[in-house]
């Protein structure tokens, strides 16, 4: 309608951040605020014989100290998980309690055992050192496959062999048969290593109980305040939801790790009631490493069969997923519905079967981390494709082009029904790969590789073509799959009497730029200035409801909810305009911020209609005053962004160091509101993928100690670890949401890791290296070269 959609408008939220006026949770200082320090288990697995906080209670400045029993005595069991996945035999999954503070046992290093609260953070820290916990250390198990073995340490009494559930998807018989009859089978053992999300803002939460109104406010660095309120009220503390407000102001990155309802949120809320004072907890980074949910951690055997024409005939995947010590909010969904369902990839594979066993171990809980399941699926598919290309002596791009699902727009051609439960909305997969080949100048790259090898330099070129399921999700579908909540989104659009527009949306922005993208959407729709639109989010008191931000859903789902409300406003506005213009609604058209009687110059502006709605002196009969609508949008299907990434690396064969030289991508995220923001999302995602490929990985030792629990040991990507990126886009609109948008938040991460690893393996072909597990540290690469040559 307007001219803002598709423009790289500069972000409206930037001003506060670049001037230091952002308001992150730890920036909030309330009157009479106290500070909590949490005592965490130094052992991965230990019986707790006793916890003594008496000395801490006597320390200077201490106002309270609590142990697990204090909560248990009030009937508080723990934080729940939001998804239920049943065993293959139909039995309900095991769901051991996740206490706020451990009582009987500590089950991972970092498990919270007690809390001390004092007038200052320093006093709380000093007093925490005085808490005495008597542990009886037990054997620990950290690897999922080992935890399933007979005789492994058992985390819970009623979870035999630590198996939380087993699960399968696809047709096993036809897949087995396809692989048995295949002319060639490519098989890989893949470890998708555990990652630590590391949003740069450490988690923070402030509980503030107001005794005068018997109301609670929780300020939290969360991606979805309403979901936290729902879980905490209904399933943890049993508080009436209307007495609880959850506020998530500026949040310094999430990447999934701030979706979940964490024990600290409940803890500070509960403690503030006990003390009748605000209680703040902010994680130290060393706490983040052992208390933020981790990501990935799969052990997989994957086999892909080909016929004699190099067509894929079957894919068999067997995965053991490590869920850590407790079930985090989304944990059961990640290695199942967000993983197994994506194993069709972009390919016409006629038979797919995936078998997943989810296991508890003495490690930090594992949950969604940028991509969540989809990077794991894409990684194994794309490693298989590049490996198969080498084995079959064909070009990896050719092999993909041969096996891609043909283009379909989801309108004239139906969606593509996969072997693993999903129906892709629309896609043109060869287009993105061909574009990526073009911008990378692929043939030239191969020549450069050839020349470099003659000089003893090892360049590698790696591919990754991915698809993801985003815009999560249709409530009925996810409900059938075990979600314990709907995954719609809500948005209220409130037109003020002066024609200014306040939007209240359940999506939460923590870097995604919603204040800008949503304002563009609204200003464009109504034909008004962006300055006249304010986007509000992150406060349960102002926003009707919301499911929050994750799964690349904000625009596709939250944005669609805004559109729904705007449509209602336009419809009602037309009635008012028709009355003012003394015309029939049917004769009006709405454009550039005004309703005009078709074929005339008679018009009335958006502002006048708004004012009339609130000052209804001259007003249609039987029409309510006001111009304010709330809508809930429940998507009809997931959205399916896709893309092709090509990485060029150089390996220093003497040291094993991998340098990412060039990176090309062509992504298709459907229609785009703000290309600048979309590109930014892709850049950040790609670097998280590169991080997984060459730098990052949580390393637990056999006793369950995290060997790299700080930035001194856990390698984060820095500016000089990565190159500039050359990105293009194609546009295949989503056919089932009003904007045709698919989502861009996770694409980069999903595409990047396999492209990098494929490139490194390609670089090492002269040494005969066929496979390497991430992260591709210098030592690992060097050793592979030594062992192969």
């Amino acid at each position: 309608m307007g001219n803002l959609i598709g423009k790289s408008v500069k972000r409206v939220e930037d001003k506060k951040f670049i001037t230091g006026n952002g308001e992150y949770t730890d920036d909030i200082k309330l009157s009479r605020m106290t500070y909590a320090s949490i005592i965490r288990s130094p052992h991965a697995h230990a019986k707790i014989r006793s916890v003594d906080v008496s000395k801490a209670k006597d320390a200077p400045g201490v106002v309270g100290a609590f142990v697990g029993k204090d909560l248990a005595d009030q009937g508080i069991v723990g934080v729940p998980t939001g998804w239920q996945v049943n065993f293959k035999n139909g039995d309900q999954m095991k769901e051991p309690p996740h206490p706020i503070l451990a009582t009987d046992k500590a089950r991972h290093v970092g498990d919270a055992v007690a809390v001390v609260i004092a007038e200052t953070a320093a006093q709380a820290k000093d007093a925490a050192e005085l808490v005495e916990v008597d542990y009886e250390v037990l054997d620990a198990v950290v690897t999922a496959s080992k935890a399933m073995e007979a005789g492994a340490p058992q985390l819970f009494e009623d979870v035999p062999n630590n198996v939380i559930f087993d699960w399968e998807l696809g047709d096993k018989d036809s897949t087995d048969q396809a692989l048995a009859n295949a002319a060639h089978v490519t098989k890989l053992n893949i470890v998708n290593q555990r990652l630590i999300p590391n949003a740069i803002e450490p988690r923070s939460a402030i509980g503030d109980y107001d005794p005068s109104r018997d109301q609670y406010t929780l300020y939290s660095s969360t991606q979805n305040p309403h979901l936290i309120r729902l879980l905490m009220c209904a399933f943890v503390l049993g508080l009436p939801e209307h007495k609880v407000r959850v506020v998530a102001r500026d949040v310094g990155g999430g990447f999934g790790s701030k979706i979940f309802h964490y024990i600290e949120e409940t803890l500070v809320t509960w403690c503030s009631k006990q003390l009748c004072r605000p209680v703040k907890w902010t994680a130290e980074r060393s706490e983040s490493f052992i208390s933020d949910a981790h990501g990935r951690d799969h052990e997989t055997v994957a086999e892909m069969g080909f016929d004699s024409n190099q067509n894929i005939v079957g894919l068999r995947v067997k995965t053991i997923a490590n869920l850590g010590a407790y079930l985090s909010t989304f944990a059961p969904a990640v290695p199942t519905y967000l993983y197994g369902t994506l194993l069709q990839g972009l390919y016409t594979t006629p038979a797919v079967h995936v078998d997943v066993t989810a296991v508890a171990t003495n490690t930090v809980p594992v949950d969604a981390y940028r991509g969540a399941g989809r990077p794991e699926a894409t990684y194994l598919l794309e490693r298989l494709l590049d490996t198969a290309a080498t084995e079959l002596g064909t070009d990896p791009a050719e092999l993909r082009l041969k096996n891609f699902i043909p283009p379909f727009d989801g309108v004239d051609q139906p969606g593509y029904q996969t072997q693993v439960a999903l129906q892709y909305d629309s896609g043109n997969y060869e287009a993105v790969l061909k574009k990526a080949l073009e911008i990378s100048n692929y043939e030239q790259l191969r020549k450069e590789q050839e020349e470099a090898r003659k000089e003893g330099r090892y360049l590698g070129i790696g591919f990754s073509t991915y698809i993801e399921a985003c815009g999560i999700a249709p409530s009925a579908v996810v409900g059938a799959l075990g979600a314990r909540a709907g995954l719609y989104e809500s948005a209220a659009v409130r037109v003020q009497p002066t024609g200014k527009v306040s939007v209240y949306v359940g999506s939460h922005s923590h870097g995604q730029g919603h204040d800008t993208t949503f304002a563009q959407l609204v200003a464009d729709y109504f034909g008004i200035a962006m300055d006249d639109v304010e986007i509000n989010h992150g406060d349960t008191e102002s926003v009707a409801f919301g499911m929050g931000t994750y799964g690349s859903r904000s625009l596709a789902v939250g944005g669609s909810a805004i559109v729904k409300s705007m449509e209602k406003i336009k419809e009602k506005g037309a009635k008012i305009a028709a009355h003012l213009l003394e015309a029939s609604e049917n004769d009006l058209e709405f454009a550039e911020g005004k309703w005009t009687v078709k074929g005339t110059d008679k018009s009335v502006g958006f502002g006048d209609v708004s004012l009339t709605a609130y000052v209804p002196h001259n007003y249609p009969e039987n029409l309510e005053p006001g111009l304010d609508f709330t809508s809930f949008y429940d998507p009809a299907n997931f959205t399916f962004p896709f893309g092709a990434h090509i990485a060029v690396v150089e390996v220093d064969a003497e040291t094993g160091k991998v340098e990412v030289k060039k990176y090309f991508g062509c992504d298709d995220v459907g229609n785009v509101i703000n290309p600048m923001i979309v590109e930014g999302q892709l850049h950040g995602g790609i670097v998280q993928g590169i991080g997984q490929a060459i730098l990052e990985g949580a390393a637990y030792d056999a006793e369950g100690q995290l060997d790299n629990p700080s930035y001194m040991d856990y390698a984060m990507p820095r500016a000089d670890d990565v190159p500039d990126f050359e990105l293009e886009r194609t546009v295949t609109p989503c056919p089932h949401n009003p904007m045709g948008a698919k989502g861009a938040g996770e694409a980069g991460t999903i595409g990047a890791a396999p492209a990098i690893v494929n490139a490194v393996v390609d670089a090492l072909q002269p040494f005969g290296v066929k496979d390497l597990d991430m992260p591709l540290s210098p030592q690992k690469v060097w050793r592979a070269i030594q062992q192969s040559s």
Partner: protein
């Protein structure tokens, strides 16, 4: 055991009594309520706490307030002058050099130091100069562009 300090922050002189163990970043955040400077780690790694002390950038999480006594500090709140954004701030906005904004103040201070020392840095020099600052959102691509933009404006 508290010590008297006098520290000039963004041109304003502050006196106060602090525990010797207090880090400069806490003095800024807690005592002065200048919360633009952030804490992202405890190992002097991430750079979210970067400020300028006596003309050079430091990690304020690893400087005691008492060490900064009689010193001059510039924080993100002091970058703009007379309501005009500093070219570095402008660059970050123009080139989409920030997403969640948490690392941004520290990142901009490091950019400030670089551009003090090198008026016309190459892409490689910019990436190297930012090695003490982590960003998890942007992939650094647009941060580099932001610094390049600022360099042309300064």
């Amino acid at each position: 055991m508290k010590k008297q300090v006098q520290i000039t922050v963004n041109g304003v002189s502050y006196r106060g009594e602090v525990e010797p163990r207090q880090m400069l970043v806490q003095f800024l955040r807690e005592n002065l309520e200048l919360t633009g400077t952030h804490v992202g780690c405890d190992t002097s790694s991430c750079g979210a706490c970067t400020v300028v002390l006596n003309g050079r950038t430091v990690k304020a999480c690893t400087v005691l307030t008492v060490q900064a006594d009689l010193g001059e500090v510039m924080t993100v709140e002091g970058l703009a002058s007379n309501g005009e954004l500093h070219p570095i701030q402008e660059g970050f906005r123009e080139q989409h050099g920030l997403q969640c904004g948490f690392c941004t103040p520290g990142m901009m201070m490091s950019a400030w130091q670089l551009l003090q020392d090198n008026k016309n840095p190459s892409e490689g020099e910019i990436r190297h100069a930012l090695e003490g600052n982590f960003c998890r959102c942007t992939g650094y691509h647009n941060i580099v562009k932001s610094v390049q933009y600022a360099a042309t404006k300064m």
